[in-house]
């Protein structure tokens, strides 16, 4: 085969994979605008499911709760994660390697295990289930992502800039605020968006930690799916997926175009 044939074959393969990745999402989005309750074709355009959504207090409450939790998680995880990244960047100390390795369990251990372990522990210490437990759990899952992203940004930072600022008489806080933070700001923004996505899309840990009747949006959707599908779930799912893809597109912009050029 010629080089051109290989190239064409490769591009077809890539196109097929992209089709596989996006087709079901697009079908779901299309069906949320279909008038038929049982996903019947032919397709008739209707926005009735979105209108129904506006009247569904349970879904609206869960959506508001999910956003609120994600915002809390973003604020806490971004602050704590950025602090830890700066400390690890500035200083060499014994055990640093171990601290870096400790970031892997929250990412690498299946959420089923982490989630059930949290449930057991939070019950054991008397916190139980509910929104505070969900926030504590999500923050722990988000911190490693923030540290990884901010650390990657710090790797492009010249530490002699800090030395220069110190030599010119700036105290530690001024150095951080006026020199370090402005440089790593794109990394922190990207880390924050990752943290938001980790929390907003999180299902497994929320599922074990949220209380019935006080659940996040993904947990509510899971419960609803198990009872049977309705186009209302399509509508809310379409909104969710659009929102989280938008957040990630912005994050990609920040982490990539943030200042390397």
């Amino acid at each position: 085969m010629s080089a051109l044939a290989y190239r064409t074959l490769g591009l077809i393969w890539l196109g097929a994979v992209l089709f596989f990745l996006y087709a079901p999402i697009l079908v779901m989005a299309a069906m949320s605008f279909n008038a038929s309750e049982f996903y019947q074709l032919p397709f008739r355009f209707s926005t009735q499911w979105y209108a129904r959504l506006a009247d569904n207090q349970e879904i609206l409450d869960a959506a508001a709760r999910s956003v609120l939790i994600a915002l809390c998680v973003t604020a806490i995880a971004t602050t704590l994660g950025s602090m830890a990244s700066i400390a690890m960047f500035r200083h060499e100390f014994r055990g640093k390697r171990l601290l870096q390795v400790l970031l892997f369990p929250p990412i690498a251990i299946p959420w089923l295990i982490t989630g059930t372990a949290m449930l057991i522990f939070f019950f054991g210490v008397g916190l139980g289930r509910g929104t505070p437990a969900v926030i504590i759990g999500h923050v722990a899952l988000a911190i490693p992502y923030v540290i990884v992203v901010v650390t990657a940004r710090l790797a492009t930072f010249d530490p002699t800039l800090e030395e220069a600022a110190r030599a010119l008489g700036a105290d530690a806080w001024t150095v951080t605020r006026r020199v370090t933070l402005p440089w790593i700001a794109p990394g922190i923004v990207a880390g924050a968006l990752f943290a938001f996505a980790v929390s907003f899309d999180q299902f497994v840990v929320s599922y074990f930690l949220s209380e019935p009747g006080d659940s996040t949006l993904p947990v509510l959707i899971y419960t609803a799916i198990r009872k049977g599908f309705t186009p209302e779930i399509n509508a809310i799912s379409t909104i969710i997926i659009t929102l989280s893809m938008t957040v990630m597109l912005i994050a990609a912009r920040y982490s990539k175009f943030g200042g390397d050029r």
Binding site: G10, L14, Y22, M83, A87, T116, A117, I120, F229
Partner: protein, 287 residues
């Protein structure tokens, strides 16, 4: 009393690091320890239950073949999903890393990675709509093909595999892409100029160099798939009983937390074993 500069520095480091790591301790490491403790209890130690230390939960795992069978079923599912993802994802990563250049590559790469950062539950749900009998897949196939076909993949192992591959495919594309991108094109040119054919270059130059990235992606897929429960529940229906769904049941339906904890811990041991085996490879992939 003046604080020694070194002491002050140490305090600064501690102050910056400890909040994050205290949080991880409270929310990850202590819970995992608590789960280990629970797994050796006969009943939950809340209220006025009569509980004592016992290994009966682990004995249940050994004596009741159901658990081991389901764990093996989950491991097989993990291998299947990983294999399919690698076979589909590697060529895709290769095209992205070595065939396409410039802005098109950036855009396509982003398109491949983007679904991975969207809600996994919603994506599984979208497959349920596509795969159900008389659903979109069946109708579009019947519209294209000249003969009637009856496709109802919903509530089958195939549906579970499709959904999981869809969820985790971007992992292996991402890690393979990073591995492939690090290969110097002049190595490939050198092999070609010395007369190596396309297959020889692939087998002797590209694959060995890209292997750490591919394996890293494989591990990242295998581990969560072995512990999956939501995907089999939604797409598998009656055939969707796996090790993960049994653990889920212990916590949300049967309320046998000690048994659930023991089963989780067996799963954790399997996962840690795999991560330990793979860690030299993963470390190599990082550099």
């Amino acid at each position: 009393m003046a604080i020694h500069p070194a002491g002050q520095r140490r305090l600064g480091v501690l102050g910056l690091l400890s909040p994050a790591y205290l949080w991880l301790t409270v929310a990850i490491f202590l819970p995992l320890s608590a789960m280990l403790y629970f797994s050796v209890l006969s009943d939950v130690p809340f209220g006025d239950t009569d509980w004592h230390y016992s290994l009966e939960n682990y004995r249940a795992f050994w004596e009741n073949p159901v658990y081991a069978t389901l764990l093996w079923k989950s491991v097989k599912l993990g291998l299947m999903v990983t294999l399919v993802s690698v076979l589909v994802g590697f060529p895709c990563a290769y095209v992205l890393a070595k065939v396409i250049r410039g802005r098109a590559r950036e855009t396509l790469f982003l398109l491949v990675i983007l679904p991975f950062w969207s809600n996994s539950l919603v994506r599984i749900f979208s497959w349920a709509i596509v795969l159900r009998g008389n659903g979109v897949l069946e109708r579009s196939l019947n519209a294209i093909l000249p003969f009637e076909v009856d496709v109802n993949l919903m509530f089958s192992t195939a549906a579970v595999v499709i959904g999981l591959v869809h969820s985790y495919l971007p992992y292996v594309i991402l890690t393979s892409y990073l591995g492939l991108q690090a290969i110097d094109d002049s190595l490939i040119d050198a092999a070609r100029s010395m007369g190596a054919g396309k297959l020889t270059i692939l087998a002797r130059v590209i694959l060995p160099l890209a292997l750490p990235g591919v394996l890293a992606g494989a591990v990242l897929i295998f581990v969560p798939v072995v512990g999956s429960f939501m995907e089999p529940r939604i797409l598998g229906g009656r055939v969707g009983t796996y090790y993960g769904t049994v653990i889920e049941d212990q916590f949300v339906a049967v309320f046998n937390w000690p048994l659930g904890a023991a089963l989780s811990f067996v799963l954790l041991a399997v996962v840690l074993g795999i991560l330990a085996l793979a860690s030299p490879i993963l470390r190599k992939a990082q550099t």
